[in-house]
Symmetry: C2
Amino acid sequence: MASITDVAKKAGVGIATASRVINGTGYVSEETRQKVQAVIEEMNYVPNELARNLQQNKTNTVAVILPDVSNMFFAALLKEIEYLLRKKGYKTMLCCSDGEETNEEAFLDMLKRNLVDGVITTSNLLKQGSYAEIKRPMVSIDSILSEDIPMVCSNHKKGGKEAAQMLLDAGCRHIFQVRDTVDEEIRNRDKEHEISSKLFPFVERHIAFEKTVRNAMKKAKKKSKISYHETLSLGLTGADAYRKQAKEVFDKYPDIDGIMATDFAAIQYGIEAHYRGIKIPEDLKIVAYDGTDAARMFYPEISCIRQQIDKIAGEAVKLLLLQIDQKPIRKYQVTLPVQVINKYESETRANK
Amino acid sequence: MASITDVAKKAGVGIATASRVINGTGYVSEETRQKVQAVIEEMNYVPNELARNLQQNKTNTVAVILPDVSNMFFAALLKEIEYLLRKKGYKTMLCCSDGEETNEEAFLDMLKRNLVDGVITTSNLLKQGSYAEIKRPMVSIDSILSEDIPMVCSNHKKGGKEAAQMLLDAGCRHIFQVRDTVDEEIRNRDKEHEISSKLFPFVERHIAFEKTVRNAMKKAKKKSKISYHETLSLGLTGADAYRKQAKEVFDKYPDIDGIMATDFAAIQYGIEAHYRGIKIPEDLKIVAYDGTDAARMFYPEISCIRQQIDKIAGEAVKLLLLQIDQKPIRKYQVTLPVQVINKYESETRANK
DNA sequence: AAAAAATGTGGAAACCTTTCCACACAATGT
DNA sequence: ACATTGTGTGGAAAGGTTTCCACATTTTTT
């Protein structure tokens, strides 16, 4: 394969000059430029990016770490991130952690090994310390890894509150939520430090949801009884696992009429309800949290709290590129608004 | 950042010796090994992968080109490919062509520029010639790029036939299919050369589907009238586009009772039918082609022709690694069986 | 007209590895 | 006792760029 030296030799110029022609930098006379350009085309010369990367210590590649591409939320996020990075001239290295700590560590290693210029991660399996050590461009989505690592997430507090309110307004009285959780070990660690929601912002939505429902319970004591229940989706993966959980929940709490769950789980609960002849939305209302296009495509009639994936991706990419370009970051924690997509008629309005 | 020279110097050994310790190659005395190892840990030395890549002219990275990650079929395929590559020590570069020719070309350029060791592509926007030129490891999924580029695909002929038969057996009489197409320009080129299905194996399923239905039409002439209709999904992207098409189709052919369409489209047709009060599967039966987990998760009751994504990914990765390792390839075209998932009671059985 | 700035060019160092080769010494074979 | 093989080590080249620096020539400024 032809190298720049070959080109320079054949064109009868110095290597530096050839390089300048190739990169369009510095001073080169028009005459020389054309001569070199002709040789380049003749020899079919293509610069070796590896050599460039080494010399500049830059790869124009960003690693995106996520637990599972086939999960619609991550797929949508990945699509957006890849697109934005591509527009900015960066390549995307896909890193599926598969929920395994060792994988995530190996991916972060790529930063040290100079393989990628930066990392955007949606995974959070490693101990907090592991991240703080790495003084390299990094952005996390939906989990706080360390003080100096920028994070972007949705306003989950608002999201949880709105979800509960939506169900209450639609007349639900027996309300249920499927709590997402992180790894058990991390949960325990969190309990000790009581900073759970500080480290994992998404926990806020569960807290806000419960709080909103319990507030309503107090207020509505006289008129109508409201009940609240929940379950954990600890380490559940795959549709079957959620489906099984849905069965158990419907068996245990036959009277629930309002559910909040993540898209993926929400759909399984919906299907199970359908199988049991529970009518949606008449007998049961579901709010899907995340509200990805995929979920709404399948269930156009489902209500949801929609995370604005495009904006999350936009902020994450922006924050990463700032670091790569060594520019200052103003806000280390960006919270983006959620969208409320309410397909249920509110009771008050219905009564009019 | 510490380099191997620093390590060698500090340990009082030659660079070559340090390299041998790092890579565990050649002869090194136990004493020296430990001495160097200690320095490595002390200095927190990590080899610069870029220099390695340059020296060995290998990146251990594979580019995966696909039109759209958020499409469930590609997401599932990507997940599997990434997993298999990771197990083999390769990294995955994600390349979304977004259905644009220029993107695909840019990604293929990465091969020339030594950025990736090989390419697995599911996209096929470029002219056939463009691929044949590139004498580098490459595998295509579902499209024949050139004689020497291995391809893996499902047995679409069987798939199309089975899909039609399934609908006919279930008693459908007015049968419809949504034909997937490639870029218009390519279609025209194909028409000229009359090799359409040779270049794009997936076209086989549409041919086989139509053929099966038309055969049934002839045979069943006396007993009951069977009709066949179709539409093209030329360049449709996004749920809305398919939904709109579904509306038009139901308006134009109000009596259809059997449809074959790709997962993504099938769901939109299903939703539109639902909205119109057409009962599935009583009044309308749909066969989803691809049968990804995602589609079956949403519509557990849907029948489908399922492509075995894990096997497709397995073959593709195997064929690519053979090329990268410069080993001979026996079969350049691998066809994998499809799975028939039939949820409809066949009429003959029902009549008994 | 002299000084300064702009333009054009090439050699060589630097980026950090791996690996070829040469050399030295010990152990083994005949 | 000498040749052969095995073990251990380091210098230097090679991989292909980019960029710093030095130098030469031309143009502009004062």
